[in-house]
Symmetry: C2
Subunit: 313 residues, 2 copies
């Protein structure tokens, strides 16, 4: 919340670097620089190096205007060990640049296994009595399907290491309703039951106005977002779905509390792939980072404007 | 199914190497051998190397009697990049030894992100037009909370690369009922709705008697297992929860079809940590691998006996 206030920007840039929006130039540079050092990169290594250069460029371009980035682990795992090395470097670099890192890992298991995921992404791994950092992000996203057994170890890591989680409550995708919206015996949708549990888990890790346990609520479902904001007054919301997935600033107004706080909005493709869009064509492929900054700035202005208008009404 | 028949053993050994059951000797050996080569291992590297030695020993000890192993990704991620290198080596080594590898990753996301997880764990990652293998297991476990958008990309990978998935339906842990057992408007529990969807997804990837899309159903819930076996006649079941989590062979009988097929039962701690148990104390810490083999053999006999008794009744 402090970082959001400081930059007056409830915005997180999703670092989901699909190869389709990595400028070809970066692959070429990675290969040529390695060749100049007498090394030949595998396809995986080359992609991972290009993504690292891309992420670094995006982080440099946005780190003074946004409070946080959200790397999506799938986009790194698909490139094997080289991809995961890029993931790790990206987390470290973003933190060095003063950004908060939300690891979008959507992990969820039970007992000692969930504890291991929590150690991997937020906490510490104890080896022969010594607590060591692993990927060490600031927040992680977590899947609730396995219930309290799956979440509690993450809450423990939040308390031990001053970290946070966002539990999937109502996701932004078209089919999210298949299970999440199912009406239960008492007429409430499943996501409301999950929201209730999130409050319960959240009460175990309060940290000022909001809990360290937050919720993912898709910006693409404004009515549900408004209901969930009311149902979970002390739960911070991470809202994906702005931009490329179709949600606008107006859709998001009721995800915020009466002070215009309590929510951070993610955009990934809309920022990373801005250079490929008509609106930012002037930047060209060479200035993909400039396009990303401009798109992030436009998103910030859009949200600021909508929140200001709401206050004035 | 062929591998299960060949070994007459519907058993998968879970490779969840918690440091608490890695013999201390392995850490020591890893450190000393590195020192002899003039290298100093970090804590993470040392743990990862000890786990690799442990896994290799377990695989060597059981590869002629069981058809499959199930490494649990959390247990490797907690040791960072060195841990994930051990994960990758373990998958490769098990496959070299003729074992089927079930990647217990419980991933789940949407659209292109789920496609990236599917590429990472089962399929191929396309880099500049070339399809490359990443972790390349044979099966993966998948979380259904995000609905069809999250599962379909995995089904596509199953079809493209002749792989399989197991979707979490009813998990083995104590709190699995919090959301999975919730009664819906029409009186059915949520896990039955998930089972229905699993059949629908499964119909897109049939492969003989069973689909490439399977289900995770905890052995700790025998009544639900029996109901789910009936509700999903063409869905292969992966059943965790035997042994350390409390389920017995008798609990599992109705997870199998009329031919005694259609289910594979996992045990992790019960086999990996056998050397720490009273019953296998004769093996001692030095012969942890022998203890693991004996525990796997006992589990196989237990299941064979129960299935034989059932046929004779």
């Amino acid at each position: 919340m402090e970082a959001i206030r400081e930059k007056d920007a409830p915005v997180v840039v999703g670092l989901d670097p699909n190869l389709s929006f990595i400028p070809g130039q970066l692959m070429k540079e990675a290969r040529e620089e390695a060749a100049a050092e007498g090394r030949t990169l595998s396809g995986m290594e080359c992609a991972a190096e290009a993504i690292w250069r891309f992420n670094k460029g995006v982080i440099d371009a946005v780190c003074d205007i946004v409070p946080a980035v959200k790397p999506q682990s799938a986009m790194y795992e698909q490139f094997g060990i080289p991809g995961l090395m890029t993931y790790e470097k990206t987390v470290r670099y973003a933190q060095e640049k003063g950004l908060i890192v939300i690891a979008d890992v959507k992990r969820g298991d039970i007992g000692s296994t969930s504890a291991a995921y929590a150690a991997a992404h937020l906490g510490r791994t104890v080896i022969e009595g010594v607590a060591e950092k692993s990927f060490d992000a600031d927040f992680a996203t977590v899947n609730p399907y396995l219930g309290t057994d799956g979440i509690k170890p993450f809450v423990d890591a939040c308390n031990a290491c001053d970290k946070g989680i966002f539990v999937l409550v109502k996701t932004s995708n078209p089919s999210s309703g298949e299970f999440q919206d199912v009406r239960t015996e008492d007429g409430r949708p499943v996501y409301e039951l999950v929201a209730e549990k999130v409050r319960e888990w959240g009460s175990l890790s309060m940290d000022g106005r909001y809990s360290n346990v937050g919720a993912v609520v898709g910006a693409t479902y404004p009515a549900q977002g408004e209901a969930l904001r009311r149902l979970m007054p002390e739960i911070f919301i991470l809202a994906p779905g702005y931009g490329a997935q179709g949600a606008s600033a107006a859709d998001l107004l009721h995800f915020f509390d009466e002070n215009g706080e309590g929510c951070i909005v993610n955009s990934s493709r809309g920022i990373l792939a801005a250079w490929q869009k008509e609106a930012y064509a002037a930047y060209g492929e060479k200035d993909w980072a400039g396009a990303a900054r401009a798109a992030a700035q436009a998103m910030i202005e859009d949200l600021r404007g909508a929140l200001r208008d709401r206050t004035q009404r």
